[in-house]
Symmetry: C2
Subunit: 143 residues, 2 copies
């Protein structure tokens, strides 16, 4: 690995990261109690406010049928609630319930704790720069 050029290393490490992160999300060692899909969905609603299925699907790059089922599952667990868009009868809007907020908060806390521990030896500058670069990478990667 030492001989790689920087971009090769980035590619290598990110590919490895994805494989293992997906594993971790499905293993008993996963962070928190929510499925990754549930976590992302709740987080989106919590951050951006009520959203419809289509909007969520676009954000996650999933088919709306998939998100429709994910949302239905969260609704059944009473983590989100559905209400009709007064301006358009076809649209279902979802919002996070009190319970959903609790669960999200708890999971986020655990995830942050893990990331705090991972980066505990990093300098403030390193953390800052890493975050910046991730944002840039995400923007450039998906357009």
């Amino acid at each position: 690995m030492e001989k790689r050029n920087p971009v090769e290393r980035i590619e290598y490490e990110l590919t490895t990261f994805i494989r293992r992160a997906v594993y971790l999300d499905n293993s008993e060692k996963k962070i928190g109690n929510l499925e990754r899909s549930a976590y992302l969905l709740l987080r989106h609603l919590d951050e951006f406010g009520p959203a419809r299925v289509k909007e969520l699907a676009e954000s996650f790059k999933l088919d709306i049928s998939t998100v429709s089922r994910q949302a239905a599952a969260l609704e059944a667990k009473e983590l989100i609630i559905r209400f009709s868009d007064p301006a358009d009868g076809r649209v279902s809007l979802f919002t996070v319930t009190k319970l959903g907020k609790q669960k999200l908060k708890a999971d986020k806390k655990m995830r942050l704790k893990r990331f705090e521990s991972i980066t505990s030896e990093w300098s403030a500058d390193e953390k800052q720069l890493f975050g910046d670069l991730l944002i840039r990478m995400n923007e450039a990667f998906f357009d």
Copy 2:
């Protein structure tokens, strides 16, 4: 997003990255021609030399039955070949074929090109540091 602390941003961006990278890998816009699993398997054999199913499974954090099928599929496509371990008749070892090396090389090239383009505006230092931090993160994340 601007209000987040650095670690929160790292958690946020990495979570987002995984979701979208998984999508990209399955979409028609994916990089290269190999499945992600095939790419990783070929890459491992190419880097570390002949390996058995168990070793690959441990490296990828997959069940050996899963890797056994992945390897069988690559064998059928003649990208890898199987040979018996002379020292242990139970063990199948795999190695990359000439064709496999070609395909791997072609895919790696495309992936690197993409990552080159993503990081084209980054300074050499930034690339270097990003790679270093990813390595550190991967090590700390999965032990």
